[in-house]
């Protein structure tokens, strides 16, 4: 009886709290256990991360407290971001980053005049412009890919592999649903092959075998090899994501368009793909996040991405024992990037659902 009267004397916020956290004795117990766990984990973590940490200084000797030594990250920050990219040329990386961000912001603004044309233009112009800015030549100082590293390399790998993977994946998805049995067969074999093998072996394959199957004297840059390897794998996954979108689309759409006299490619380009891609966008984003995380594996072929640079920095005798700092810093970058991407995709998904009136 008392229990029934209790809610009335509680203020509304406390009532919500009770329902959310202490609805039953078991719930209350679970809540208390959770609170205890959170307490035990977060207190030492925050102490290490912030309270006891050393922020100022230049060498390892400056870190005397029991907390994290962020001095290490500060001293190595340039390398974590750019690898061995020459100091004098780093503005090029920054410029490219600004261009990409600027383009993304401008293009996501719905009021932009001629938005579609601008998007296509950006997609055509930016990738080669990026390669030129980073690699150099034609008036810019040449910066070989072996000097690239850190976060910029990770982003480069992910973005360029993604740029290859998306169109290839769409073609493969169409191929897998093609009327022609041989094309279908070839697509299925390609997709299932790359989906069936670990990325480690693919990167190995790309870095060891690609030079071997090319004609003599034809050298593919080792970064390009990694990009190709990653792109093939992700294309296979993208293809499956797109196929999901294609399957979700009623057959009537394609049939109606064919009835209007549109050919295969125009049907796909104008009717089927715009709808299917919108449906499969969340799945494709997930695949892109997976790609982004898997770029870490290039470090096994001595390409120094963010994690590789972190490990290389750890091998520096002047900074022995900074493992936690390096991994926490690199991990946080990955986490925020991936989390941001997945939130963005969720937002899109929601918008899509409202657009479809569900």
């Amino acid at each position: 009886m008392k229990l029934n009267e209790l809610p009335r004397i509680l203020p509304p916020w406390a009532e919500t709290l009770r329902q959310r956290l202490f609805a039953t004795p078991l719930d209350a117990l679970a809540t208390l256990v959770c609170l205890y766990i959170i307490w035990r984990i977060s207190v030492p973590l925050i102490e290490w991360l912030l309270i006891d940490a050393t922020w100022d200084g230049t060498t390892r000797e400056d870190c005397r407290s029991s907390g994290a030594c962020w001095v290490f990250i500060r001293a190595r920050f340039g390398q974590f971001m750019y690898g061995q990219y020459p100091l004098a040329e780093r503005w090029r990386v920054d410029l490219l980053g600004l261009l990409i961000v600027g383009a993304a912001v401008a293009l996501s603004w719905r009021g932009l005049p001629r938005r579609k044309e601008a998007s296509i233009l950006a997609l055509i112009v930016l990738p080669p412009l990026g390669v030129w800015l980073l690699y150099g030549g034609w008036g810019l100082k040449l910066v070989e890919t072996r000097e690239w590293g850190g976060l910029m390399l990770t982003l480069f790998l992910a973005i360029y592999a993604g740029l290859i993977a998306v169109p290839l994946g769409i073609l493969l998805a169409l191929g897998r649903r093609s009327r022609l049995p041989l094309i279908r067969f070839a697509s299925v074999v390609f997709i299932e092959f790359w989906r069936g093998v670990p990325i480690i072996t693919v990167i190995f394959l790309a870095s060891l075998l690609l030079p071997l199957i090319m004609p003599t004297g034809f050298n593919v840059d080792r970064l390009a090899r990694a990009v190709i390897g990653l792109a093939f794998v992700i294309a296979a996954y993208m293809a499956e994501a797109v196929r999901g979108g294609l399957q979700a689309l009623p057959d009537g759409q394609a049939e109606a368009s064919q009835a209007l006299g549109l050919g295969y490619w125009r049907t796909m380009r104008l009717i089927v793909l715009p709808q299917a891609l919108r449906i499969s966008l969340p799945a494709m984003t997930n695949e892109f996040i997976a790609l982004f995380k898997n770029t870490t594996l290039v470090l096994i072929v001595s390409i120094f991405d963010l994690l590789g640079i972190a490990q290389a920095a750890l091998a520096d005798p002047a900074w022995v024992g900074m493992n936690m700092e390096a991994y926490v810093f690199a991990g946080a970058i990955y986490w925020f990037s991936c989390f941001g991407l997945s939130q963005w995709s969720r937002l899109k998904e929601k918008r899509l659902q409202t657009a479809y009136g569900r």
């Binding site: 956290l21 072996t201 071997l212 199957i213 991994y327």
Partner: protein
């Protein structure tokens, strides 16, 4: 002529023929270059190296492999290790994943946000971080061999792993295993009989209690009895390390922990999605029929969620198997580590070794896909 070209069949054949010729040409081009380049480089080719002595030590193997065995035996050890860590991790990842997925849907706000935090934390960081974290974290947390944690002086835990005794004679255990299998078969028969009887007469049968005795207590007794009849190889501290018995190496533990907790985050999302796909009306109807909440979950929610859950969970299982190759980063002797690592360096036959490795992973993936498809077909909902 134009009418001929407009014929759909002709065009189909034309495009397919063109694609085939193109593909074959590309493949031929690569193969040609490869064989030319390899010949020029004076590299050994062929698969004879598989029968050469390996000379490579594998500290953790269940196959009885010795360094004096062939590279083929080494490969087999790697395969067994890959399968072992995958199977164990899949089992545990499924359990954790289902629990976290259910907790995510809990009414308790704190529980569900903790589960959500776990999922978001795990899904957005590369697996390599977790593998390294568990390995070096576990190593740092464990004591040195001299300060080992012991249990009854037969089981020891330290930085070299978990040393457990092994029986010297397996005869008793073989009998126990056979007995267990028989008991499981009996339980299976009983459950069919009990279900049939319940359908006929409506009378319940205490299946769980009987099952506990038949499949739990009796086999346990059999194994304990077998354990007492044989002598044991008990680990003892000799010099630096515990010798004798079986050592569960930290590499295995770290890889297993990383794989299962990481994949669990993905499975949890799948489970949440699957359960949420069951319409609220179904639950209400179940409750209206007077089923207890547990039974609503077991009889109404799970059977309807399963078909939604199984396909994505299959791809998570496949991912886990492929991700077990991350063991190479911490010296867990899986296929990639012993074969694509040690054996490749010893023989230098990159082409053959990578081809074999790819073939093995493809076979494993195919096998799991078939298994899960079979399971899915069996558990498909019969709708009208």
């Amino acid at each position: 002529m134009i009418g001929f070209l407009r014929d759909r069949k002709v065009r189909d054949y034309f495009w397919q023929g063109l694609a085939t010729i193109g593909l074959l040409a590309v493949v031929w081009f690569f193969v040609q270059n490869a064989s030319e380049n390899m010949q020029k480089a004076g590299m050994a080719t062929g698969f004879q190296f598989l029968w050469r002595d390996s000379g490579i030590e594998v500290p953790f193997n269940l196959t009885g492999y010795k360094p004096s065995d062939t590279i083929l035996a080494l490969l087999w050890t790697g395969i067994v290790n890959t399968i072992l860590v995958s199977v164990v991790s899949i089992a545990v990842a499924t359990v954790i994943g289902f629990s976290v997925g259910l907790l995510r849907l809990s009414r308790n706000w704190l529980l569900s946000s903790l589960a959500g935090f776990y999922i978001e934390f795990v899904r957005n960081i590369p697996l390599l971080f977790f593998v390294l974290f568990w390995y070096f974290g576990v190593l740092a947390a464990l004591p040195t061999p001299r300060e080992s944690m012991g249990l009854f002086d037969v089981v020891f835990l330290n930085r070299r792993g978990l040393s457990i005794p092994t029986p010297n004679d397996l005869a008793g255990f073989r009998i126990a295993i056979v007995a267990t299998l028989v008991l499981i078969a009996v339980q299976f028969g009983l459950s069919r009989w009990a279900r049939a009887r319940q359908a006929r007469t409506g009378r319940d049968f205490p299946l769980w209690a009987v099952g506990f005795v038949l499949c739990g207590a009796l086999p346990l007794a059999a194994f304990v009895a077998a354990g007492f009849t044989t002598s044991w190889d008990v680990p003892t501290l000799r010099g630096f390390n515990y010798r004798g018995g079986f050592v569960l190496v930290p590499e295995f533990v770290a890889l297993f922990a990383a794989l299962s907790t990481y994949t669990a985050g993905f499975i949890a999302e799948v489970v949440r999605g699957g359960i949420q796909s069951v319409r609220q009306g179904q639950l209400d109807a179940g409750r209206a029929l007077g089923l207890s909440p547990g039974r609503v979950v077991r009889l109404v929610v799970i059977p309807q969620a399963m078909p939604v859950i199984i396909p994505p969970i299959t791809s998570q299982y496949l991912n886990l198997i492929k991700n077990s190759s991350f063991g190479a980063a911490i010296a867990y002797p899986d296929i990639v580590s012993v074969f694509m690592g040690s054996a490749l360096v010893a023989t230098g036959q990159a082409v053959e070794i990578i081809a074999i490795t790819l073939a093995i992973y493809l076979t494993l993936s195919l096998f799991v896909s078939l298994l899960m498809n079979w399971y899915n077909a069996r558990h498909k909902l019969v709708t009208r």
